[in-house]
Amino acid sequence: MTEYPVAKIEDYGYKEHRFLKAAWKWVVNILFAGTILLLYLPSLVIALQSVNDTSDLSVFNKFDFSAYVNMFKDEAFANSVKNTFIVTLSSTLIATVFGTLIAVGINSLETKKRRHIILLNNIPVLNADIVTGISLMLIFSLFLRIFPYLFGLSTLILAHVFFTFPYVILSVLPKLRELDPNYMDAATDLGMKPYKALFKVIVPSIKSGIFSGMLLAFTISIDDFVVSYFTTGNGYDNLSIWIYGSIGRKSLNPAVYAFSTALTLLTLAILLAVNFLRLRKGKKNA
């Protein structure tokens, strides 16, 4: 009997990569886990520190929740939290309302002017925080002679509005572009004044963009350090400035760890609750 050569799958160019693939998958998984750990490690340490019984940062003694109970006993810290919320809430509100109106204005400009203003609008987004902070400080100090006590709450709010405007505008603009132009025409044809049409027709149909812009503005404003550091004055500290000062003096009050942990958990809870409610609503509708 003649022996016929038996064709092997490898002869057709097949290469066995199963082992390599499995190894690669493991490498990627380990890198993924490591990255997540790196992102979460600081928050874990903050949480751990907030329930630590000693203020010594190098040992964990035993669980103790007094930092949560006495959270706002330190007056300077409580003040800085209060200031942070005043600045963030008012600047977010201003930026959202006026940013939306500005976006409507930009959207109705002719192409050349629109591109010009969008280019300028990108400056605060891309600019280094330190340059933004110094720029605003230079401009504000030109007004010092007229308003000697300018630096403080007012300059902080102005600065925060300045760097959150672009985010609101950039979130609203795409929604305006998607909008059917006939809406506006229909509203005015039916006898509405343009501004009434704006609030009755346009704003309701772009509210998702307005909302995401507002969230972005809030997140960026509440966490800002560098711009606030250069534009505040007269002892008006927000949380970031207070933390920076405390780190410099090596006297960080443990209450801030408790505050941060509580805030993170609260955000997580809100996120999950919103998602849960949305899922239930979706099921009901289906």
């Binding site: 340490v45 300028l120 996120l271």
Partner: protein, 277 residues
């Protein structure tokens, strides 16, 4: 839309010229003056400020800044891509929620996170203390070293890389991947020749958003570098604190040039403001 709304944009144009463009002009002007703060009463015009650039400490700061910014961008791109891709390929129904939870730490105060990170970069810290109780003794001192600053920069700015990459991946049409497999591409080829090029826009956006702040920040090197590592941001802060506005403006203007290049690059691919968010 309606022409009457055009005037809504006008005040913003004035606002931008006043607060974004004018300061740059003032800053460029301050380079050539010899002033005390911004008191421009008897301005002496001088080129002396440029001598400051030749000082070894300044040169070193520039070298350090670019080195750390480039390394941070590269590391964030690699690790950020892995995270974004994993979430993109996962089978969760609400992937965006997972992504937001992954970058949740970004929402607690940045300085506090850096300080906490600084604590665990010391040889004896709360984690090693806990580990030593179950018999594991490890501990290296990274605070005040280059590696420590790099870890801080990467962990702080990586979320800015993850989000744009994820958005870009999300936009890829699945039928393109199917087509690649149908035409005989292997998994790796499919990724390298189809998926990756299509997600490149996200990588570039993320790269800009990571590169610029890590180039110019001063809080992270201040806290994690313990004064051993000086970046441009630290020098600018120092100069302005000591009322030396001329030298500070010079350094800030140099950063502004880098920013300007980024601005033009973004404007070239996108004139309607769709890239940055």
């Amino acid at each position: 839309m309606h022409e009457e709304f055009r005037k809504l944009a006008k005040p913003y144009l004035v606002w931008l010229y006043l607060l974004a463009v004018l300061p740059a002009v003032v800053m460029f002007g301050l380079i050539f003056l010899d002033t005390e703060g911004v008191v421009i009463e008897t301005p002496g015009i001088t080129l002396e400020n440029f001598l400051y650039l030749a000082e070894p400490s300044v040169l070193k700061a520039f070298y350090n800044s670019f080195k750390f910014a480039i390394l941070t961008t590269l590391l964030s791109a690699v690790f950020g891509y892995i995270v974004a891709y994993k979430v993109f390929r996962s089978r969760f129904r609400n992937k965006f929620l997972i992504l937001v939870i992954l970058i949740l730490p970004m929402w607690s105060n940045m300085l506090l996170r850096i300080e906490a990170l600084g604590n665990i970069l010391e040889r004896h810290n709360i984690i090693t203390d806990l580990l030593s109780r179950i018999g594991i003794h490890i501990g290296v001192n990274l605070k005040g070293t280059e590696a420590g600053v790099l870890i801080g920069l990467v962990s702080t700015y990586m979320p800015f890389m993850i989000l744009p990459i994820y958005t870009a991946l999300e936009k890829i049409d699945f039928s393109l991947e199917e087509a690649a497999l149908d035409l005989g591409a292997t998994g790796l080829q499919k990724f390298w020749k189809v998926v990756f090029p299509l997600s490149l826009k996200g990588v570039v956006t993320g790269g800009i958003l990571v590169f610029l702040p890590s180039l110019s920040g001063f809080a992270i090197p201040y806290i994690l570098g313990k004064g051993n590592i000086i970046l441009i941001g630290n020098l600018i802060e120092q100069n302005f604190k000591e009322m030396n506005y001329n030298a500070g403006s010079l350094l800030a203007s140099l950063i502004l040039i880098v920013i300007f290049a980024a601005l033009l690059a973004v404007n070239r691919v996108d004139k309607e403001g769709e890239t940055l968010l």
